[in-house]
């Protein structure tokens, strides 16, 4: 059999394995098999490619593969709390690869680039380069190397869309006149700037949406690269990745109550600007000590814990596991209610809680848990704020009105662990805290949960 055919067969198998890989990922029971299928597919495709007779020199390929592995291993071993920034960084690497290959392909082919080829090549490098810098910016913000506060200025969207418009216009000229090679750097350079500008107005709470969107762009740019190289395998892998990012972006924007077009054009962080100036509430709240909180929890039959990014910041997930153990030991039903945008990327809370050994069948998403709050004795909110704000349901003047929330206020008692009465990310007052059934537990999430656990242990002797 000619080598060409062997290569094609490895690609065909890799494609099938990639699809199976995602299919098996659907439930935790088969998910690890999915990773294995993906690995085998990748191995086959890379091995097949190395057989390609057109390759005349292997030295640099081997060096690069080894170097990539050396960089990749530590990136695969980061702490679970660092997964969002690692993910952003890997989007940047993927986009870098696509942009570099696209750039080289242009200079190898120019000036004889047919219009359609030039169009997809432009799409490849425009999406690739804006994803590269955008993801680096997102990773920097998540790692707190860069300031996390959104930076906004007048006419921001105008400047950003203008930049993108210029890049697309230059690409249009290149499609018509591929011999104008001196224009090519513009369709790499301008999107690189755009990527930075796009992330500047993004704050921490928008990160789940942004990461999903960058994921989608990275996939689409890889698919465009597949068009350029006429590789079915690459088109398919890129389309799968693009579809995944797209679905997650739509989920996230729904959970944030933002229209998808609003998200697509990078108009993040616009709404909270006015809200922060709202009148300060002076109503009183009820607070409780760890002893009182432990007493109420011990008397409950059903407890729902609602974790948010504050839990991750306080590194409280292991203490929460101890609380879970202490309560389940007493026969109390404990579940976790996870909002889709809790944390800094889709599914972030689930990973942190799974790492703390909390069984995944106790982790329920918003739609599954909301029906259970009326039968819940205690809803314990740890480091979450806006996703529990009942104003989203009842107050049409609230900036987050219409955003789907966890209905913790329907539980018999609500306990909120919080550092102080400061407003949440969106700068919006949370009327939940002023309800008669709400007890505020002021303190660091990790210490407070630890104190409750000690009280529960002491009372049990």
């Amino acid at each position: 059999m000619p080598t060409e055919n062997i290569i094609e067969i490895t690609y065909l198998l890799a494609t099938a394995l990639f699809i199976l890989s995602l299919k098996w990922l659907s439930t935790p029971a088969t998910a690890r098999r999915g990773v294995f299928a993906g690995e085998i597919g990748m191995l086959l495709a890379v091995a097949g490619t190395l057989l390609y007779h057109g390759i005349v020199e292997y030295k640099w390929i081997v060096i690069a593969l080894v170097l990539g592995t050396i960089i990749g291993v530590p990136l695969g071993e980061v702490a679970m709390t660092a997964v969002p920034q690692r993910t952003a960084l890997s989007h940047a690497f993927g986009a870098l690869c696509v942009t570099l290959v696209g750039t080289a392909e242009f200079y190898l082919r120019a000036p004889n680039v047919p219009p359609f080829m030039m169009a997809v090549l432009s799409m490849e490098v425009i999406l690739g380069s804006l994803t590269f810098t955008g993801s680096l910016m997102a990773a920097g913000k998540l790692q707190e190397i860069l300031p996390q506060r959104p930076i906004t200025y007048k006419g921001q969207n105008f400047v950003n869309l203008g930049l993108l418009g210029v890049a697309i216009a230059v690409a249009g000229v290149l499609v018509a006149h591929p011999e104008k090679m001196q224009l090519f750097p513009a369709i790499v350079g301008i999107p690189l700037v755009f990527g930075v500008m796009m992330i500047i107005p993004i704050g921490g709470a928008d990160m789940p949406t942004v990461i999903s969107l960058l994921n989608s762009y990275a996939g689409l740019s890889a698919a465009a690269m597949g068009f350029v190289l006429q590789s079915k395998l690459l088109i398919i892998a890129g389309a799968l990745d693009g579809a995944s990012g797209f679905i997650l972006s739509v989920n996230m924007s729904k959970a944030m109550n933002r229209s998808f077009t609003n998200v697509l054009f990078g108009a993040f962080g616009q709404e909270q600007a006015g809200a922060a100036a709202g009148a300060k509430e002076t109503r009183s709240v009820r607070s409780a000590s760890p002893e009182e909180a432990a007493g109420i929890l011990a008397a409950a039959n059903k407890v729902v814990v609602v974790p948010g990014y504050g839990m991750a910041v306080a590194q409280a997930q292991h203490k929460v596991r101890e609380l879970y153990d202490a309560l389940t030991k007493r026969g109390i039903d404990v579940k976790f209610g996870i909002h889709p945008v809790a944390g800094r990327m889709p599914g972030h809370m689930n990973v942190l809680l799974a790492e703390a050994d909390i069984p995944y069948d106790k982790l329920l998403d918003m739609d599954e848990i909301n029906g259970e709050f009326p039968q819940t004795d205690v809803a314990l909110v740890i480091g979450a704020n806006d996703v529990t704000n009942p104003a989203a349901r009842s107050d049409p003047s609230s900036p987050i009105y219409g955003m789907p929330i966890l209905d913790v206020d329907k539980a018999r008692t609500v306990m909120v662990i919080k550092r102080s009465m400061g407003a949440g990310f969106a700068g919006i007052e949370n009327p939940l805290y002023y309800l008669d059934k709400t007890l505020m537990l002021f303190g660091d999430a990790k210490n407070f949960v630890g104190a409750i656990v000690r009280e529960l242990a002491g009372g049990h002797e």
Binding site: S21, P28, T49, I55, R86, V101, G226, L240, L248
Partner: protein, 101 residues
């Protein structure tokens, strides 16, 4: 095997449909591993980079070699890191077994 434009579009469209149907079924529980896994699979772009870096080019050989090599490094780190971390995350997801007193 060379593809024409229309065939490429068909392949893209079908793959996008399959992607939507398959990924829609992924439990929200696993959305973080989903993202790291699709990211690793996406790094299949390495095959393009390998050919770019290894093939004979009459003009622009140096450029192709330099950019291709960097691209292989970037994609390989995504493959290795992406699969590793996805598996590490998935190993942590355990169902609640029989309770021990």
């Amino acid at each position: 095997m060379k593809l024409d434009l229309l065939t490429s579009l068909y392949v893209f469209m079908l793959a996008a449909f399959i992607g939507f149907e398959v990924i829609r079924r992924v439990s929200p529980l696993l959305h973080t591993p989903l993202m790291s896994l699709t990211n690793a699979l996406d790094a299949i772009a390495v095959v393009g980079a390998i050919i770019l870096a290894g093939e004979y080019h009459e003009h622009g050989a140096l450029l192709a070699k330099i950019l291709g090599t960097i691209a292989i490094v970037a994609a390989t780190s995504n493959i290795v890191g992406g699969f590793l971390i996805t598996d590490r995350m998935l190993r942590m997801f355990k169902a609640s077994g029989p309770k021990k007193p």
